[in-house]
């Protein structure tokens, strides 16, 4: 895969030859990074495509010279803002890896509480710990060039995207919903067996990962283009699911945060 030609083909300013790649994590479960080494079968091919210069979870050497930075996790403390800004200043392409980085992920579930002091007290009592009131996505602080959705990210998709970036091809994320993939996979619809599912409004690309295992979608990849959240609420209601269940799914990963806020307010007003 190594290209030694002098072709000046570039993508977002990066020469096509084996770019230097770095991985970083902010507040996260480190699962999205782990997905990269969890792909034993194609890991070696992937490694021939890029040169990894920083990956703290896997290697001791750390270099400050890279073109593509993958950043996992959401921003939850002041020092993370600083780290992120520094990474942004070095990287030509900044990739938000996973739903924590793209939307805040499960971490943003703490944002739903009115009183951030209560959140800290619940866990640490009177012990003082530093933490921002809100868990936020990377984009709240720096411009992001590419977003790879998912909690966790789907490794095949990451590799496809990285290959495209390296080869200078444009990256097109699916606009259609999970439902399309689920139907193509000929799954029994979960609503028919009495389970809730956000597949109709969630962006595809995971190959209907959860419904394939008879688990309804929780919307980890955020909204599909033209997602009709109002209609989704109707479908849930018609199938006998409470607004609370709808809210649980909608607010879980942060991709539907605006819609979740509206629904939460309307539930509490009742």
């Amino acid at each position: 895969m190594q290209s030694t030609s002098n072709k000046v083909s570039t993508y977002l300013g990066i020469p096509v030859a084996r770019p230097k790649v770095a991985f970083f994590e902010l507040s996260s479960c480190e699962g999205c990074q782990l997905q990269m080494v969890n792909n034993e079968a194609t890991l070696l091919d992937f490694l021939s495509l890029v040169e990894i210069v920083a990956f703290r979870e896997a290697m001791t050497e750390q270099a400050d010279d890279y073109q593509i930075a993958f950043v996992e996790g959401s921003v939850t403390r002041a020092d993370e803002v600083e780290r992120l800004r520094k990474i942004r200043s070095i990287a030509k392409v900044l990739v938000a890896l996973g739903s924590c980085a793209c939307f805040g992920g499960v971490n943003q579930l703490k944002n739903r509480f009115q009183d951030p002091a209560w959140v800290k007290k619940q866990v640490y009592g009177t012990h003082v710990v530093e933490s921002n009131d809100q868990a936020q996505p990377l984009e709240a602080f720096v411009p992001v060039d590419l977003r790879i959705f998912g909690c966790p990210v789907k490794k095949e998709e990451v590799e496809k995207i990285v290959t495209n970036v390296v080869l200078g091809k444009s990256v097109v994320l699916p606009k259609y919903p999970v439902c399309m993939e689920c139907k193509a996979n000929k799954n029994t619809c979960l609503f028919d067996i009495g389970e809730p599912c956000l597949g109709p409004i969630t962006r595809g690309g995971c190959d209907s990962w959860c419904p394939n295992s008879r688990m309804g979608c929780w919307g980890c990849r955020g909204p599909a283009e033209d997602a009709n959240v109002e209609q989704m609420k109707e479908i849930m209601k018609k199938n006998g699911f409470s607004e609370e269940t709808m809210l649980d799914r909608l607010e879980c990963f942060g991709g539907f945060a605006k819609h979740a806020d509206v629904l939460r307010k309307s539930i509490t007003a009742k």
Binding site: C32, V37, E40, I52, K110, V119, C252
Partner: protein, 424 residues
């Protein structure tokens, strides 16, 4: 001439999460040795308050990407204990097989990708791809096998999709299990070669008398639920876990610390082996013996060997589990759930040690209080005490900074800490 030497490791590499080591030696005497945990908290225990029971395994599994299966199973067990659900034999076996494969993939990841580079004097596994291709290929193959079984039973190797309160959303195809049986048999050779590889490494000679805490088996090597025991003679029931963990906060760490009979205790593979040696599979026991590992072992670096021994144990036991599962007819995968008020605790041995989830529910099954105690947080105080003794000992022996730095990092890595998990 007065000399002050400082070893300052910011964000130690090849561990999960963020921790720092600080050692100050003045005139050959240790002045300070500190293990600092600087990870950002995510507040999972607050996040879950107000949520209905079915959210808990799905959300709390995200505490950790490496042991998400263990977290999911501990969460499910806590809920089932609160609601009075007893898993069926089939569910019990499927969960144990899933758990075993998480243990195998995590131990292999730790041993080969995080620990081996220290012994082979390289900074990561990546240069080994060129210099030791067979070693890397073997690690990848075993990891892939374990991950493939997790995909098959749990629906996904990370943040599983089929594991639910009451059982599973669906069961695997028997013919898939049969294929895995063959691959597990083949893995026996890979594991033996792993044993041979580790035999060529010199495990640092360091001991500090330690209390070890784990589940206590009554008939088998325990992984999911049961009584709790320490090697200092403390025993407790699962729901009394707080009397084992005694969490407290310290200034140098965003993770809580634990203590029991002494200033600190250890959990993990070495603790399990020390507490349950007799229940190991004979093949695993033999390997343990060949490394001189038997209770009580007080060398923290031997946790690597204990993990290796457990790899053999879980691989062997998984073959038996597959035989039992394929030899019986599939029953309904999932039991109905009726929530009720109360408290439930789930204790599970995850790769890095004993993990507890505890939830309190209202009548409708909404969480009113949540507590998760993570293996690594139970180990932090012990790492601190080991680090101090280690630095003291090596400083007085006149070891070079470079050597102390390496041995200190290897010590921390031996615990296979999962720091972001410990802070959660």
């Amino acid at each position: 001439m007065k000399t002050t030497r400082t070893i300052d490791i910011h964000h130690i590499t090849r561990v999960e999460g963020h921790g720092n080591i600080k050692i100050v030696i003045r005139d050959g005497k240790l002045e300070e040795a500190r293990w600092e945990v600087v990870e950002t908290p995510r507040f999972f225990e607050a996040m879950l308050v107000g949520k209905k029971w079915e959210n808990a395994p799905w959300i709390s599994g995200r505490i950790c990407g490496i042991c998400s299966i263990g977290h999911t199973l501990a969460s499910i067990r806590a809920i089932e204990n609160a609601f009075g659900i007893v898993p069926t034999e089939q569910t019990r076996k499927l969960r144990l097989l899933l758990k075993h494969m998480e243990t195998l993939q995590s131990h292999i990841l730790h041993l080969y990708f995080l620990a081996v580079p220290d012994f082979l004097n390289v900074g990561s596994v990546f240069p080994l791809i060129g210099s030791h291709p067979d070693v890397v290929a073997r690690a990848a193959q075993m990891k892939q096998l374990a991950n493939d079984v997790c995909d098959c039973i749990g629906g996904r190797r990370m943040h599983p999709t089929r594991t639910v309160v009451g059982g599973f959303t669906m069961v695997p195809e028997k013919k898939e299990l049969v294929q895995f049986r063959t691959r597990l048999k083949d893995a026996t050779d890979d594991l033996l070669r792993t044993v041979e590889l580790f035999r060529t490494f010199a495990v640092p000679d360091f001991t500090r008398e330690t209390e070890f805490v784990s589940l206590k088996g009554d008939k088998s090597y325990p992984f999911i639920g049961g009584d709790l025991a320490s090697t200092d003679g403390v025993t407790r029931r699962e729901h009394e876990y707080r009397l084992m963990t005694n969490e407290y906060t310290v200034e140098q760490s965003t993770s809580k610390w634990s203590r029991l009979s002494r200033a600190s205790f250890a959990v993990g593979a070495l603790a399990r082996v020390n507490n349950n040696f007799d229940f190991l599979h004979p093949a695993a026991k033999e390997i343990a013996a060949s490394f001189g590992l038997k209770p009580m072992n007080h060398n923290p670096y031997m946790n690597n060997i204990a993990q290796l021994v457990e790899c053999v144990h879980v691989a062997r036991e998984s073959i038996t589990l597959i035989d039992e599962l394929t030899g019986s007819t599939w029953q309904e995968p999932r039991q109905p759930v009726s929530p009720k008020s109360g408290i439930g605790v789930g204790a599970v041995e995850v790769p890095r040690g004993i993990l507890y989830h505890s939830y309190e529910f209202d009548n409708e099954g909404r969480i009113t209080h949540c507590d998760c105690v993570i293996p690594t947080s139970q180990n932090h105080a012990n790492i601190q005490h080991d680090l101090k003794k280690l630095a003291e000992q090596y400083a007085s022996q006149g070891k070079q900074d470079r050597d102390i730095e390496l041995l200190a990092q290897m010590l921390v890595r031996s615990y296979d800490p999962c720091i972001s998990c410990s802070v959660h």
